[in-house]
């Protein structure tokens, strides 16, 4: 086992311990009211998770994307009501451009902004999670020569609040002639889609985590809920639905990790396209099955299921839906003769 894998395992064990202890219904409700749990945030930061992807020379752990996949999956598994993955991404892209990382939560926009000759930013993003609770926003801006800049700006706290399915704090971001606090050109990692593939990879991994949790809930409920004199899990109809759900969960687990590995392998867009198409598609099916298994109790406010299914409906849309990314993949495939299709599948294998 490599040293990075060791660090990755230790990190995910710590994160698991923290999230198990602190994330519960009360924590979800506080987040939906717009509060960020700063004590828990501090503990997460102390574990080094928010700087996990940042190189060691810049004060981070220098882990790869595949290394942090288990921790990100845990954030999904616990429906962690904090901008952990956004902050990981924000700090990572800052470090990729040679900029210093920042302490505290970071909001990230996956939209592309414009930057003019005077270094002023303009543009908007209709939906930025945790914008008002974060001191900084990290975004990508493009200038008239097509050069891309990683920018960090102070969070404008005046953006209109946006109601989302997951009810996590979210607001509209509009910049009009704002100077970034820090910016630097980034030449290596960003193609036309900016941060979108990276956010799509993170959401895919979170979906996998949430789905695994939902699977566990369904199994437990089916084994304990008694109707017609026996646990409903004895009925084949229920067994087969849950087996179907487990297939979706497994596919998502594989797809999420695939996206992370493809980032490490230098194909972030392709990895995100495959993963987000699969996970967003599966999210729909999983939510449908879970609610069917739970019956009416599953849609009540007091039950925890909806904290997960609402996130699935949120995350399947974030950073490009299954339909958006399938369209992206299909367009590329239709650009080339059919004979190229198989080679495009195998030539993008993650190699050892």
């Amino acid at each position: 086992m490599s040293e990075d894998m060791n660090i990755s395992m230790m990190l995910s064990e710590q994160i698991s311990r923290l999230l198990t202890k602190h994330v519960n219904r009360d924590a979800w409700i506080r987040a939906e009211e717009g509060q960020l749990d700063s004590d828990l945030w501090q503990e997460i930061e102390n574990q080094g998770l928010t700087l996990a992807l940042v190189g060691e020379e810049l004060g981070g752990a220098g882990l790869g994307w595949a290394d942090i996949e288990p921790s990100v999956r845990l954030c999904g598994q616990h429906a962690a009501p904090l901008p952990i993955v956004e902050t990981m991404l924000g700090n990572w892209i800052l470090s990729q451009a040679g900029l210093e990382s920042v302490a505290g939560p970071i909001a990230v926009s996956s939209s592309l902004f414009q930057i003019n000759e005077n270094g002023c930013l303009s543009g908007q993003d209709e939906q930025v999670s945790w914008l008002h609770q974060s001191a900084s926003v990290v975004l990508i801006a493009i200038n008239s020569h097509g050069e891309r800049f990683v920018c960090r700006v102070d969070s404008p706290f005046n953006g209109r609040k946006v109601a989302t399915y997951d009810r996590q704090p979210c607001a509209r971001l509009e910049l009009d002639g704002v100077k970034p606090n820090a910016h630097a050109e980034e030449r290596g990692k960003l193609a036309n889609l900016g941060l979108m593939p990276y956010m799509a990879a993170l959401r895919s991994i979170q979906i996998a985590g949430a789905m695994n949790h939902i699977l566990g809930l369904c199994i437990e409920y089916a084994n304990t809920r008694v109707q017609f004199g026996r646990p409903i899990g004895k009925f084949q109809a229920i067994q087969h639905m849950i087996a179907d759900l487990s297939g979706q969960a497994a596919a998502c687990q594989v797809a999420g990790l695939y996206a992370a590995r493809q980032i490490d392998n230098g194909h972030p867009e392709y990895g995100a396209a495959i993963a987000k198409t699969q996970t967003s598609m599966s999210a729909t099916r999983a939510a449908t099955i879970a609610h069917q298994v739970f019956g009416a109790i599953g849609v009540t406010d007091e039950h925890s299921l909806h904290y997960y299914t609402r996130r699935l409906w949120q995350w399947r849309a974030d950073a490009g839906s299954d339909y958006w990314w399938a369209d992206y993949l299909g367009e590329k495939a239709l650009d080339k003769p059919g004979a190229d299709l198989w080679n495009s599948v195998v030539s993008r294998s993650v190699t050892a």
């Binding site: 995910s12 698991s16 999956r73 598994q77 695994n212 699977l215 566990g216 199994i219 089916a222 084994n223 899990g233 004895k234 084949q236 229920i238 067994q239 087969h240 849950i242 087996a243 179907d244 487990s246 297939g247 969960a249 497994a250 596919a251 687990q253 594989v254 797809a255 990790l257 695939y258 590995r261 396209a273 495959i274 993963a275 198409t277 699969q278 299954d322 339909y323 990314w325 399938a326 369209d327 992206y328 993949l329 299909g330 367009e331 495939a333 239709l334 080339k336 003769p337 059919g338 004979a339 190229d340 299709l341 198989w342 599948v345 195998v346 993008r348 294998s349 993650v350 190699t351 050892a352």
Partner: protein, 386 residues
């Protein structure tokens, strides 16, 4: 972190590329005259000459020990060869069952004599095997089989019948499951044994079963007082149930469980391009199929990695087959949605023939090798339901 299943990734070493290119250039030449109908059959299509050529090139029994004529190569090398063959819709049927199932079974449980006698012939593509499991009254409920093996001087006498035996009329050998002790009522999973049967033995009658495509690729095989010598029992007498189910578990996650319709996708892309149909629906459907293919391939590779390192992820394999079959079955419908083609089969039109064949054949994909319902039962049990 806790997860209900294990799917550690298995990356492909870059050095496998030359092997892949070698297979591809062979197929490029070999596939020139393949009709859509032939491509559709893929791993069930029986073409002895093709299998002999594949054998000559060292692509059968690739991972088996050299002592028995195998090629001592890695599971990954075999995977590359197999997936290239399936992507092209190559007719693998004459060696597929021996390569995928019977050979590994003999290597695992066969006697030294059995290995020496049969493995080299499978490797050369000479000996074709079929699998005798189902019976007229025993499909998914395999343990209820009634075909019997009775002890006689120097061996066994077989009585009974097997059905749905793919390519039995063209094969040389069958590995068949027979009850050698007790009854299905009392013993269920005990008392079954596997026999290696030479299909030329007297008393065997092979009758074609015509299917809905108008062909007869599967058969009813009747055993009337058929003698099998003692040394042709496989593994342990009475242990046939666990041997046969382990065999099924091994084959469940291979690429033949999600690639049976793959050849239709490139042809669909060419059709869409030729009519400049690249609308949103076409892009989304094609993209969705690609994403599913890639994810299934990653899952299948992961299981290969686990098998190679000595684990037996039976639940994961069942899960991949269930997902894979559902994916395969959607492809002809996806194509029908995108390309409005009439329901007729035009012989010279490869695309049209392939679409016609697969449309009529996909219902069997979630039957063969364990029905969807059986698989989901296995998966549910593995999850702790029941």
């Amino acid at each position: 972190m806790t997860s209900s299943f294990s799917f550690n990734p298995l990356p492909l070493p870059a050095e496998l590329d030359s092997l892949r290119q070698e297979v591809r250039s062979f197929l490029g030449e070999a596939s020139k005259d393949w009709s859509g109908w032939k491509i559709g059959h893929s791993w069930t299509g029986f073409d002895k000459d093709f299998s002999l050529e594949v054998g000559r090139r060292g692509w059968i029994g690739m991972t088996w020990p050299e002592a028995y004529g195998g090629h001592g190569r890695s599971g990954l090398e075999r995977y590359v060869v197999v997936e290239e063959m399936l992507a092209a819709g190559a007719p693998l049927g004459a060696h597929w069952f021996g390569d995928r199932q019977s050979g590994p079974l003999l290597l695992r449980l066969g006697t030294e004599k059995q290995r020496r006698e049969f493995i080299p012939r499978i490797v050369r593509g000479e000996a074709s095997f079929c699998i005798g499991l189902s019976e007229p009254d025993s499909g998914s409920d395999l343990a209820s089989i009634r075909s019997r093996a009775e002890r006689v001087q120097g061996g066994w006498r077989l009585e009974g019948r097997k059905v749905w035996t793919t390519n039995a009329h063209k094969c040389d050998f069958m590995i068949g499951l027979f009850r050698s002790k007790g009854t299905a009522k009392e013993d269920r999973h005990k008392g079954l044994s596997q026999f290696l049967i030479d299909l030329r033995t007297s008393g065997i009658e092979i009758r074609p079963i015509h299917d809905l495509t108008g062909e007869a690729h599967f058969n009813e095989v009747v055993f009337d007082n058929v003698f099998v010598p003692d040394d042709m029992i496989i593994g342990e007498e009475g242990n046939g149930w666990s041997q046969a189910t382990a065999e099924l578990a091994f084959e469940r996650s291979q690429p033949d469980r999600y690639m049976s319709c793959f050849p239709l996708l490139p042809m669909t892309i060419d059709r869409l391009r030729s009519t400049d149909t690249r609308d949103r629906l076409a892009r989304q459907r094609i993209g969705g199929a690609i994403a599913e293919t890639v994810v299934l391939r990653e899952m299948s590779l992961s299981i290969l990695g686990q098998l190679e390192s000595g684990h037996s992820p039976a639940n994961e394999a069942a899960l991949v087959k269930d997902l894979g079959n559902s994916h395969e079955q959607r492809i002809p419908e996806l194509v029908r949605e995108l390309i409005d083609s009439p329901a007729c089969i035009v012989e010279s039109d490869t695309f049209n023939e392939l679409q016609g064949y697969l449309t009529q054949t996909v219902p069997t994909f979630s039957l063969r090798g364990g029905t969807r319902e059986i698989l989901r039962g296995i998966i549910a049990k593995g999850l702790g339901l029941r």
